[in-house]
């Protein structure tokens, strides 16, 4: 079962946010693979809202593309996945040392280019938890405009259960 938090009304806005350093407590990712800058609201078992700010100073923008700066859709997808991982772990329990999360599938639709100066907000929903499988979806906005929509699945597993890997 999804673990739901106490009613939102019982928590102050400060209790429903995570700064960049706090985000790293929930993710195994590290620079340059952390794509979200802040979690601005969350309710375990229900939803999470995160954001990323796009700067022309990002390495990705330097090469994507030199003639026309567009933030890569694949990076938006990674931000969606990381937001989902945090919501999943908040809704169940944090990863143990010998565990990791695995993305099973992502369906994405991109509706508007994201460019330097944009702040992308990800509204992530916990759709279903079945065993260790987590189904989640998201709509991403810049201002009031939808820039992308996603659906995905992820799970957690013991590292040992994956057998020998060449990492």
């Amino acid at each position: 079962m999804l673990q739901t938090a106490s009613p939102q009304a019982d928590r102050s806005p400060a209790d429903r946010t995570l700064g960049f350093t706090e985000i790293k407590k929930w993710l195994r990712h590290r620079h340059p693979m952390i794509y979200i800058d802040r979690v601005t609201d969350y309710e375990p078992g229900v939803s999470l809202r995160s954001l990323l700010s796009v700067s022309g100073n990002l390495d990705a923008i330097a090469g994507h593309f030199p003639e026309r700066a567009i933030y890569p859709g694949s990076h938006l997808m990674q931000a969606f996945a990381q937001s989902g991982i945090i919501l999943y772990l908040m809704s169940t329990e944090p990863l143990a040392e010998d565990e990791l999360t695995l993305i099973g599938s992502v369906t994405a639709r991109f509706t508007k280019p994201v460019v330097p100066g944009d702040q992308v907000v990800f509204d992530v929903r916990a759709d279903r938890l079945s065993g260790a499988a987590f189904f989640f979806s998201c709509r991403a906005f810049v201002g009031s405009a939808t820039v992308a929509a996603f659906k995905g699945t992820l799970t957690r597993t013991k590292v040992a259960a994956m057998g020998r890997q060449l990492w």
Binding site: L102, S105, S130, G131, A132, A133, T153, T155
Partner: protein, 87 residues
């Protein structure tokens, strides 16, 4: 609705199984022939529910029903039949 053909379509389009529909057989193992892992089984369960408008309970989400293509087909057809009977 042709249940078997619809399931084959889902396996190809949603679960990205790389086997042509005409070569899929009811006795095919979802794990050995199509490469589904534990997460894949759960995704298939949800796809079946959404596509056919059925609910697959935890008791039916079992190795008996989800080992082979034909097992899933039989389960879906039974649940659709149950719906018609109740309806």
């Amino acid at each position: 609705m042709n249940v078997l053909q619809t399931i084959k379509g889902i396996l190809i389009s949603d679960l990205l199984v790389d086997i042509p529909a005409e070569r899929m057989e009811p006795g095919d193992s979802l794990r050995d022939a199509y490469g589904l892992d534990s997460l894949g089984y759960v995704e298939m369960r949800v796809c079946m529910e959404q596509t056919f408008g059925i609910t697959i309970g935890d008791d039916d989400f079992s190795p008996v029903n989800f080992s082979t293509l034909g097992g899933v087909q039989a389960l879906v057809e039974r649940l659709l039949q149950d719906q018609e009977t109740v309806g």
